[in-house]
Symmetry: C2
Subunit: 355 residues, 2 copies
């Protein structure tokens, strides 16, 4: 009888997660005293004893997830980092941080270094990796998840060993195009992020497709490279005297969109949205600030983090390891005050509205 | 002859740091191929062979620094995190992240967990720790540095084993008081951060002292708890109809100051600085944004990070370990457009100016 009691039975009786039961029996794992006491009580009542083999499988893990990050100035990443760290911490894992200056180069040097820490998994939020290194991680049974990006060479063998989580960049770009076109704009500009980044490639593709569906094309185009100062420069060029002025700008990130709005208002004396509509991408917390009230495509960080952690855990749990997956999480267009668009009248009101 | 050749001689000849020499001889340590080749060349020329004992001392280290962080929404912390991670990475160390929801509670539970990762050092940027745990870290020869905070019970034995790095909060608060008083303000309000945090206690103390030196007192006081939404509420209360209105507000962080400015302008219809001057603390990147152009006290992140890393490295290098230190880094008042003040006329011009 006792032999068939599992950690799930204990979890049910103690009203905690199965992971909390594991941690309660893992020396040194993170679990509150209250939870541990509940678990031990329930285990005693059920006659449960943790499986020594299962426990050794757990404890031989480093419980470290390597994370490669780049510029934390783009406010999307601090929010994602905090949620990832908290989410993993709840399961007794912690994030070991690696900073990659060039956000969209491959991270082979860095990943080699990460592997020496005997990490249980790797999340790349600021790089991709080469096919050969992807294979090396696969051979070492270390799951790799690309966060907010996808490998350029989809279809190569590497793509089958590396998972990815991103939001629906193509759908978001298309929704912005429809929104601006249906709001009567005819001279719609685009300010790109890093032109080689998958985020930018996908957002621009969706945007072009959406405009084409309204018989429009991109009226003018600049490159801000996901950088505040470069977005200011791009805005000055797009709105230079003597040129016909865009009546709307889709900016590939909120971080750049703030630079665009400030430049339009305070350098060029233009009103947003009366003279020019501005739409961003990400929905960082600052997009709600009253100075901006930025209409933007939300990247849903919570679901993206949840998908990332699931991919890691499924891989670590399953034998043989679960195959790589490319997860695309849908996002919403969040309507605020920075753009006139083709939405229902209520969406133009005071609060945030979703299209 | 050869016996007396040290890693410093190799470093000099190879024109790299001594730490790069160590890493070149440490299996698995981070060093570029170019650097490693330079080092190996120089070592061969000089007949240098690494000291096996010294190397084992290096390699038995985990090369992990535990970092406890809280809300990354306050934009000071992402910038500090990125600089700390990059600075440590240059020396072959990496940051293991622990998130503490309550930024100013003690972190004893978390630190117990950190110690199980066999970290080489701990940086607390979002907590303090109890005397008993400080002693435990000291017994394990693990240096602890409080970043942007200082232990409440200075003078206890724990304070002698835990170092701290902070900017001159008292001096900054005093400079703001003088600046606003000398600019002719007479109803100067204060919006506090977390009232138990050392940052807030010190900033408020310096501010009170500075006002007293101008025969003024705090005219009205609210608490924003370092939170955007709570700072909005505090602003509404301070400027409620029927009350005599403050003519200036010193806000204990930039992050809250943005909320104050938005509330004054967009909810209350007041002009900044014409009707109300606003001064912040931190000088986060957004303080330069044209929508805010916030006058603020700069916390010099670079020197603060440098001091933090030095304290860790000195402790790890010295035998017996170097004693704990409390480092205070001076900061400047950065004059922008959000406040009228008693500065030279040039300071009121277009660019940033330091007082």
């Amino acid at each position: 009888m006792t032999a068939s009691v599992t950690s799930f039975d204990v979890a049910r009786l103690a009203q905690v997660s199965q992971s909390a039961v594991s941690r309660s029996f893992t020396p040194g794992a993170s679990v509150s005293e209250i939870t541990r006491r509940k678990v031990l009580d329930a285990a005693r009542k059920l006659g449960y004893r943790p499986n020594a083999h299962a426990r050794s499988l757990i404890t031989k893990r480093s419980r470290i997830i390597g994370l490669v990050l780049s510029q934390l100035e783009n406010l999307f990443y601090p929010a994602a980092l905090q949620q990832l760290a908290e989410r993993l911490q709840r399961d007794g894992y912690h994030v070991l941080l690696f900073v990659n200056r060039n956000a969209d180069a491959d991270a082979d040097d860095l990943v080699g270094e990460i592997l020496q820490y005997h990490v249980d998994g790797i999340v790349l939020a600021a790089a991709t990796l080469s096919s050969s290194l992807a294979r090396q991680c696969a051979d070492a049974s270390i799951p790799v998840v690309l966060f907010n990006r996808v490998m350029a060479e989809a279809g190569t063998r590497a793509a089958h060993t590396v998972s990815s989580v991103r939001s629906d960049n193509v759908g978001g770009g298309r929704a912005v195009a429809h929104f601006l076109a249906d709001g009567g704009h005819r001279r719609i500009a685009f300010i790109a992020g890093n032109e080689e980044a998958s985020t930018n490639l996908e957002r621009e593709r969706g945007f072009r497709e959406g405009l084409a569906e309204r018989d429009l094309r991109i009226f003018a185009r600049g490159v801000g490279n996901y950088d505040f100062a470069q977005a200011q420069l791009a805005t000055r060029e797009l709105f230079a005297a003597g040129l016909e002025r865009p009546d709307a700008v889709f900016v590939a990130s909120d971080h750049m969109a703030f630079a665009v709005m400030d430049t339009l208002r305070f350098e060029l004396g233009l009103r947003v949205p009366d003279d020019v509509s501005v739409v961003g991408f990400d929905d960082v917390p600052q997009a709600q600030w009253h100075s901006y009230r930025l209409t933007t495509v939300r990247q849903p960080i919570g679901p993206m983090i949840e998908a990332t952690v699931s991919l890691l855990q499924n891989y670590l749990r399953d034998d043989p390891p679960s195959p790589a997956e490319n997860v695309v999480v849908p996002g919403d267009l969040i309507l605020r005050q920075s753009a006139r668009g083709g939405a229902t009248p209520s969406a133009q009101g005071g609060g945030d509205a979703r299209l």
